[in-house]
Assembly symmetry: C2
Homo-oligomer: 305 residues x 2
């Protein structure tokens, strides 16, 4: 069954892709067998993070870039990470459903991921989803996030290149954002350049980030999209030429290895540690007969860790 | 040195408290020695989560509740969790600085935590900070979050009781939020009842959550605050009486134990796994000579995990 699904994914079958994504999202152990089977066929996709605050028009921007890549005969995968909020379920999901002109194009696969539920955290689930899309032959994979919180910062570390999306109104804050942005972004986009203040924001960005590529777009008017894709492709070609891409790939593999090792260890821990021992330890701590740090040491010793 | 700090914390010295908080936030190993020394003196504080979307007036609400608890001769600690965003550093921090009438009151300790940097994640840092404030003799500890993302949902699981803050404008979405809120909230507050639509929101909440306590407040007008504190104290008394508080404490100790065990395992992993082995594995994966899942298995076996 997993191997049939793996074959179907390699053949680019959308249903197999969708149902395996669900296995990943639910932390279902069958996902690993499929991932293992398709893994030799990965490593060709170009993975682009697109990150920006809510309301910056990321979805529209990705839709327009997708159209441009489709025009260039490339297939596209889109993974949108939906930060789970107990206060805005409706709003965030609504946003996802509103967008997306490419739902009927078989060359485009779109999936949202919620930040909760996934076994090893959402970053691990997104990483697995990238492998799947890669194996299914998608040339370009966009990973869309709002860049808030630890999970999302981890996701930014799963991609080859990050496009940070700003809008004119945010101009005043650019200086304050500098540290966070430098750490994460490769290309800056000022979207919604039809809004007042676009020139000021662009100038501020150019002053602060003079070694970065900065592109002005108005995604809803389809302005600047070809330029943006051109800049992305130029950077990709450069990084392929100067060894940067190779180093980045090694680094991603290294991080995946560490992350999987951590997951495996935690799973081992739960296998070796019975509930009774855990409950007894918790009781000793709750009664302040021992501090948690000493109790952990004692348990770890007993388990041989 | 750690033990001197521990003594000062137990004596309620604010500087010692603040510098140990910094050690925790930076994941400094000296923090653990201090925590271990003060741990026997913890377990008395009442820990209250206050969670609500940005703009619901959580900070003002906490300020007013703090004033009410101070009137009742209780000391208060406030931990505000600041979700790190690469796009809104300025805005979020600004928010924190704007508020807080109690900065000069020695019976109130206030601290913000960013969601990045902390060694074992922000939830672990907040848990340690709660222990410190508890050991320093704070009677009531408020933990303020915006309830977005995995980290924040974890934080909601560190407290004895969660107050969820809504405002009238959010009325339409209450139905959609139901699942997330039921899972996490103990008491609902409709704040900003001076805004139009407050009655509708209150009625919707009463229909949807008829087994919950629902309190109307206007924090900026100091309306409903005494009622809210009364409801919190009533629930606390109930949970002390019916064993619920006792079970919750055991559960928190259990989760802390598991979380510390996981941290310890991951630290052990990095100790036993040399960089060379990791790099060699990453290279094999990057060249697709092996898949990451098989490589992990091989490394784990070699390390005896």
């Amino acid at each position: 069954m997993p191997l049939l699904l793996a074959q179907q994914i390699l053949a680019g079958e959308i249903r197999a892709l969708a149902s395996t994504m669900t296995l990943i999202e639910n932390g279902d152990p069958r996902a690993k067998a499929i991932l293992k089977a398709v893994y030799p066929h990965t490593g060709r996709a170009q993975v682009i993070g697109v990150t920006g605050a809510a309301g910056t028009g990321k979805s529209t921007l990705i839709d327009r870039m997708t159209a441009e890549y489709r025009r260039r005969r490339k297939t596209v995968g889109i993974l949108a990470v939906d930060p789970t909020s107990i206060f805005s379920h409706g709003a965030l999901l609504g946003d996802r459903i509103r967008m997306r002109a490419h739902f009927v194009d078989r060359g485009v696969f779109i999936r949202s991921f919620a930040t909760r539920g996934a076994g090893g955290g959402v970053a691990a689930a997104v990483r697995d989803a990238i492998h799947l899309l890669d194996a299914a032959g998608k040339d370009v994979i966009f990973v869309e996030t709002i860049g808030v919180g630890q999970d999302e910062l981890e996701i930014a570390r799963l991609v080859h290149m990050v496009v940070a999306v700003l809008i004119p109104e945010m101009g005043d804050d650019v200086q304050a954002m500098k540290a966070g942005l430098v750490e994460i972004a490769d290309i800056f986009v000022v979207n919604k350049t039809d809004l007042p203040g676009a020139d000021v924001t662009l100038q501020q960005l150019r002053d602060l980030f003079n070694e970065f590529d900065i592109v002005a777009t108005s995604a809803s008017n389809n302005d600047g999209i070809q330029k943006l894709v051109h800049v992305i492709e130029k950077r990709r070609a450069q990084s392929l030429g100067n060894g940067q891409y190779h180093r980045k790939r090694l680094q991603l593999c290294r991080e995946e290895l560490l992350s999987l090792l951590r997951q495996r260890l935690v799973a081992q821990l739960r296998k070796r540690l019975d509930d009774q021992a855990l409950d007894a330890g918790a009781k000793r701590i709750a009664e302040r007969r021992v501090d948690p740090y000493s109790e952990v040491k004692a348990i770890a010793k007993k388990l041989g860790f």
